[in-house]
């Protein structure tokens, strides 16, 4: 039962990440702020990661690799924040 609930929630989360990513891309198109582009891609990665993690149904060996895309997404967010703070003000 728990597996079914987790899978259901995971599917909802994957779709939610994807929709959030689309919103970020819309904000990027409006403002041309690279931060939103990075967030859009990052949330896309979170979505793909969520789907892969469920598809792999990872055991102990692979569970960490299943989440590397997620880590990549957050690293991208970190890079975007650093870029925001280092870029020259208009």
């Amino acid at each position: 039962m728990m597996d079914i609930v987790v899978a259901f929630l995971g599917g909802a989360v994957a779709l939610g990440y994807l929709v959030a990513g689309v919103f970020f891309l819309k904000f990027w198109r409006k403002t041309r702020d690279r931060l939103f582009l990075a967030f859009g891609i990052a949330f896309g990665l979170l979505s793909v990661n969520q789907i892969l993690a469920m598809a792999i149904d990872a055991g102990d060996e692979n569970v960490v690799y299943a989440y590397l895309l997620r880590v990549l997404g957050f690293v991208l967010i970190l890079v975007a924040i650093a870029d925001k703070n280092m870029s020259v003000r208009r």
Partner: protein
């Protein structure tokens, strides 16, 4: 490799906590509700990341936090989508 994974997953958790802090700070300065709900999203994503860190790195066989992680992520995304739909314009 374990240290590398520890670092990466810890970095993800710290990033989401950092985003949460910046957004709450921005909300208290500007009063823009979009920032509040986005910050709340990162509260839940931080819970999700910390739980993932515990679940996969610290206590991989002792605990199963999948339900907590999924619920936290879903709550976070719900806050974010509410913010983008109702508070962004």
């Amino acid at each position: 490799m374990d240290a590398f994974r520890f670092f990466l997953f810890g970095l993800a958790a710290l990033t989401s906590i950092g985003c949460m802090w910046l957004l709450f700070r921005g909300y208290f300065r500007s009063g823009v509700r979009l920032l509040f709900w986005t910050a709340l999203c990162f509260v839940f994503l931080s819970v999700n990341n910390v739980a993932l860190f515990i679940d996969t790195i610290m206590l991989p066989t002792q605990v199963d936090l999948r339900l907590l992680r999924s619920a936290a992520a879903l709550a976070g995304i719900a806050c974010l989508l509410y913010a983008f739909i109702w508070e962004s314009e």
